[in-house]
Amino acid sequence: MLKRFRLEEPESAAEVSELLGRFGDSAKIYAGGTELLLAMKEGLVHYERLINVKKLKGLSEIAGENGTIKIGALCTHHQLETSPVLQQTLPSLVKLEQNVANVRVRQAGSIGGNLCFAEPHADPGTLLMALGATMVAEKSSGPREIAAADFFVDAYETSLKADELLTAIRVPAPGANSRSAYLKFGYLERPSVGVAMALTLDGPVVNEVKIAVGCAGPAPRRVAEAEALLNAKSKDEAVRLLPQAGAIAGRASEAISDLHGAQDYKEHIVGVLLKRAFNSIVS
């Protein structure tokens, strides 16, 4: 059962930051509530205050601006999966969002909440990493940008400071030859493994290869070593190197043995998904 709490209704990001600073661990930001309220109802966490950010203005838009796509942190998964801007520029993110949880979660859950809760089995963080996204965090003194690769610290832990609010996600608009994909596999409600890949096709050569793995371990991870292996290689050569890149990515996933699968099984699936992701975007 949900215990009693106070609801704060600030009107600006600065006000949210001030409340977070003032009430510390006894307050938590509340947006979609799809993760937070479940944990509270289960009695796993309790907060004296919830800071409702749903009424903050300007955090629910998706827009392209100066070569960047800006996604407001309060956008729901449903908004992302139906956004014309994203459908045109980031179809891989649209596809990912179409497959997040279920329709109820997609209607209520926000992208910002998903990223900030940092549930190890969440999808979006992994692809955002491969897309080279940055997170915009605001506090009373002003905003700062955090690279997606530096955002996820551990299971349920991000690099946001205690008084910071995630306000937007900025994704560089992909060029005409850029491709990306996110593939996941699982047999429980949440995925066991998620793999994201982005690259640029310059004729027969693959460039700017970015690889990220998630769900298997405590937090999504970029795999620079596997990226370097495939980067600036011809498609055929890259195909030959994929098993090696997959093994590197498997190890980098820091896979944990649990109900979603054993460590070696998850590492193997990382390799399989990496191969499929490459084939789907290169062929």
């Binding site: 944990a39 289960e42 009695g43 966490v45 309790h46 944990i256």
Partner: protein, 150 residues
């Protein structure tokens, strides 16, 4: 969950043994452990263990019972506690062995950790990883404390 750890400490075995029974200094090496008290010297102790995974915090008032004690070489103990706020229990069966090797003391320990109740909703993998981290930090802290204490 079963964990096996080993730490080599550049210090004589007597010193390591004495340190283990100096409850305040010993407990200071256990991450998240506080308010250590001696209930019955050499047999029973109490402490509060506070652990955190992201926003999830648990506070286990813990009783530590020494079940076996072979001077300078072996300790068998059991720690158990419950967090009634969250509705979770934990039990740790600990086997500690000390042996001398050159100028070092090798402390090896086997810990059987059981976490029961709602906390288990976080998932076995996450809890196992956390427990592993705590034990590693503990082993490192014991080494640092004893070796720094010339």
């Amino acid at each position: 969950m079963q964990f096996e750890k080993q730490v080599e400490i550049i210090a004589p075995r007597e010193k390591v043994w004495k340190f283990i029974w100096d409850i305040d200094r010993f407990i200071a090496c256990v991450p998240g452990c506080k308010d250590a008290k001696t209930v019955e010297d050499g047999k029973r102790y109490s402490a509060v263990m506070v652990e955190k995974v992201g926003p999830f915090k648990v506070e286990f008032p813990t009783t530590i019972e020494v079940l076996e004690r072979d001077e300078l070489s072996h300790i068998k103990a059991q720690a158990s506690g419950a967090d009634n706020k969250i509705g979770s229990r934990m039990k740790i069966d600990l086997d500690v062995n000390l042996r001398e090797q050159d100028n070092k003391t090798v402390v090896s320990f086997v810990a059987g950790v059981d976490i029961l109740g709602k906390l288990a909703a976080l998932g076995h993998g996450i809890i196992k990883r956390k427990a592993d981290q705590v034990l590693d930090e503990f082993a490192q802290a014991v080494k640092t404390t004893l070796e720094g204490d010339k």
